[in-house]
Amino acid sequence: MTTLPITPSQTVGPFFAYGLTAHQYGYDFNSLVEGELVNPIVHSAELIYVSGQILDGNGQPVSDAMIECWQADGQGQYNTQPIAYPTDQSSFIGFGRLGTGTTRTNQFTFTTIKPGATAPDSAPHINVILFLRGSLRTLYTRLYFADEPEANEQDALLRSVEPERRTTLIATKSKDGHYQFNIRLQGSDETVFFDL
C-alpha cells in the first residue's frame, strides 16, 4: 500500500476571522456553522450554554483562538446528515465554531444540549478542537460535565488520565444550564490535550 507523506500543519494565524468565522465578527461573508449546535427554538427546554476562555502561559485570555465543538445528540448519536445552509432547517447540528475575539473578555459561549453517552463506558462529552495564533498544530481535548459524577467515574478515557489532571477536562456548572470550561495552554493546571 502506498504511504503518502502527511501534509504538515501550520498555525491558523491571527487573521482567520473573515474566512472561518466571518458572520460572528461582522465580515461580509456567510458562515456555515456558528456557536449554536442546535436550533434553540426546537430545543428551548433543554438548552445548555458552555462558556470559557483560552488562557496562555501567563494566564492571559487569548483573543485570537478558534474553537470547534463536535458532539452527539441527546441519544448519544452523532449527526450523520449533511449540514445544510442556512442551518435552521436542521434541529440538531452537533458542530459549532467560535472565535474568541468577539467579546471584551475573550469568552466563547456555545449554545447546545447535553449530549447522551455514546457508549456504555463513555460519559457525556463534547469533542473540542482548538486553533490559535502561536499554536502550530491542531489541539484536541474533551469537555465532560461536572454534574455527571457517576458517568465520569466510569468513562474509559477519563479514567486513563492521571487523577490530578482529570478536572482540566470537566466543565463546572455555574448555574442551571450554564457550564464553564476554561482551556489552559500551560501551567500547573494545564489542560490535557490528546495525541491524534
Binding site: 504511504t3 504538515p8 472561518l20 474509559a156
Partner: protein, 245 residues
C-alpha cells in the same frame, strides 16, 4: 497528477525523539523562533488515545453550503470592479496517507490581497485594501477528492515576530477530513520564495517535510490568456489499520 512525494534527505533530528520514533511531518508544538508558541504551546506530553477516538466521524457538509462564487475569490467580493493583482488558479486533491481520494471534504481558504494586506480589522500593515477582494473562499472536494480555486496571488507582509520579519506569500487552508484526526489547518506557499529561509513559521516544519507545503507550478493546468496554475495536494492522516467504512 501524482501527489508530492518527498524523500527525507537525511533523518531529521526532532529534538527529544529517539531515532526509532517515526518522524512526524508536523512542527513541534514549541518552536521558540516563532515567539508566540512560547506561551501558547502545551508543555506536558500529549495523551495517547485509542484508535476508536481518532476514527470518530466528523460532520459532513451539503451542497447547499456552497455559494456559486465561493471558490472564486476573484469574483466573490466584487463591489465596483475586478480585484487588483495576478489572477491564479490553485488546484489539487485531498487524499489520505493511503492514497485514497477524500470526496466531499470542506476546504476553506483565506489570504492577504496582492498588496500583502488582510481585510482583518486587527491588521495594521500599511498597505492598501482592495475594495473588490475579501480573500476568503471555500468548496467541497469532488468525488475524486479534487478541488480548484481562482484567486489573486497574495503579497508578502511584515509581522512583529522579530526585526524586519516578513511572511512569505501564502494561502491559509482549513480542511475538515472525514475523521477526527483529519482536521488540518495549514498554509500553502509558492515555489522559490526568498523568504523561506527567514520565516520561523515555515521553518517550524521539519526540514524533510517543508517541500510538502510548497505548491508546484503547473503548465498543464495554466489557462491560456487567463491564469497561471499551481498544484497543491493535501494528504491527511491515513487509515492503514482500519477498514474503510
Amino acid at each position: 497528477m501524482e501527489p508530492n512525494i518527498v524523500e527525507p534527505d537525511k533523518p531529521a533530528t526532532h529534538s527529544g525523539l529517539s531515532p526509532s520514533v517515526p518522524l512526524s511531518n508536523h512542527p513541534l508544538h514549541l518552536s521558540p523562533e516563532y515567539k508566540s508558541t512560547i506561551l501558547r504551546s502545551p508543555t506536558r506530553p500529549l495523551m495517547l488515545v485509542p484508535d476508536q477516538m481518532k476514527n470518530l466521524r466528523m460532520p459532513v457538509f451539503g451542497d447547499s453550503c456552497l455559494g456559486a462564487l465561493d471558490n472564486d475569490l476573484t469574483k466573490n467580493a466584487r463591489k465596483n470592479g475586478e480585484p487588483i493583482g495576478e489572477r491564479i488558479k490553485i488546484a489539487g486533491r485531498v487524499l489520505d496517507a493511503s492514497g485514497r481520494p477524500l470526496p466531499n471534504v470542506l476546504v476553506e481558504i483565506w489570504q492577504a490581497n496582492a498588496a500583502g494586506r488582510y481585510i482583518h480589522k486587527a491588521e495594521i500593515h500599511d498597505a492598501p485594501l482592495d475594495p473588490n477582494f475579501l480573500g476568503a473562499g471555500r468548496l467541497l472536494t469532488d468525488a475524486e477528492g479534487r478541488y480548484s480555486f481562482y484567486t489573486i496571488k497574495p503579497g508578502a507582509y511584515p509581522w512583529g515576530n522579530h526585526y524586519n520579519a516578513w511572511r512569505p506569500n501564502h494561502i491559509h487552508f482549513s480542511v475538515i477530513g472525514p475523521h477526527l484526526d483529519q482536521r488540518l489547518i495549514t498554509q500553502m506557499y509558492f515555489p522559490g520564495d526568498p523568504l523561506f529561509a527567514y520565516d520561523p513559521i515555515f521553518q517550524s516544519v521539519p526540514k524533510h517535510a517543508r517541500e510538502l507545503l510548497i505548491a508546484k507550478f503547473s503548465m498543464d493546468w495554466t489557462e491560456p490568456e487567463f491564469a497561471l496554475a499551481y498544484e497543491f495536494n493535501i494528504v491527511l492522516n491515513g487509515r492503514n489499520q482500519t477498514p474503510f467504512e
